[in-house]
Symmetry: C2
Subunit: 107 residues, 2 copies
Amino acid sequence: MLKGHLDAIVLAALETGPAHGYAIIEAIKSRSGTTFDLPEGTVYPALHRLEQAGWLASNWMTQSGGRRRRVYALTKSGTAALADGRKAWRRFAEAVNASLGGRTWPA
Amino acid sequence: MLKGHLDAIVLAALETGPAHGYAIIEAIKSRSGTTFDLPEGTVYPALHRLEQAGWLASNWMTQSGGRRRRVYALTKSGTAALADGRKAWRRFAEAVNASLGGRTWPA
DNA sequence: TTCCATACCTAGCAACGCTAGGTATCCAGA
DNA sequence: TCTGGATACCTAGCGTTGCTAGGTATGGAA
């Protein structure tokens, strides 16, 4: 369960440059230290949703072998959405930390 | 949206002692700095679910005026569930922070 | 030639939290 | 007096979200 922050995580994975779906999944897994090993059924629909929202733009790329990949890139509003997502995450995380009490926050 | 961590937040609100539903809502609002102003339709079903799971025990208390309150208390397994919830939150928060990159984590 | 990794897709489900409605008591103010 | 707001509880049903489980197809290695 990604608890509603999947969009921001996907957008963040594209911040360093365009990538195709499969690579995005790998990037998220790697960045999260394998904690987020997302099934394709989670990521592909999310990419479609984000493109629908205007936060991503996609292009079909054909490899030399004839293999097709869909490469996604952040749009301008996608970059803004990512910034919003980071703020929302931070606010949320602080509120949860305060609510849970104790030493939930790492040094 | 509480993104799946509502249970832990409710359990944490009861860590300092038994309380009734309405007071729990107030406690969560206060602890979170008003970020979590949860509707009753969120909290009451959650309390029922947590009791069903054996993490809370409830007793009807009748006030002097004849007013009824249902007071919830953490059970032993509820305390354990809270500890698990804290660990889960911490792991999740660290993975999101790593995935989002940038300075999402406060000093 | 068989298998695995790569690479994409979608229908349908389950869980979660919220909306929106309901009931009832207590107390302050008009 | 009586009206409204705070207190205090409840639930049916909805929308979103992410996942399961199935499908298609190519490339390369064993």
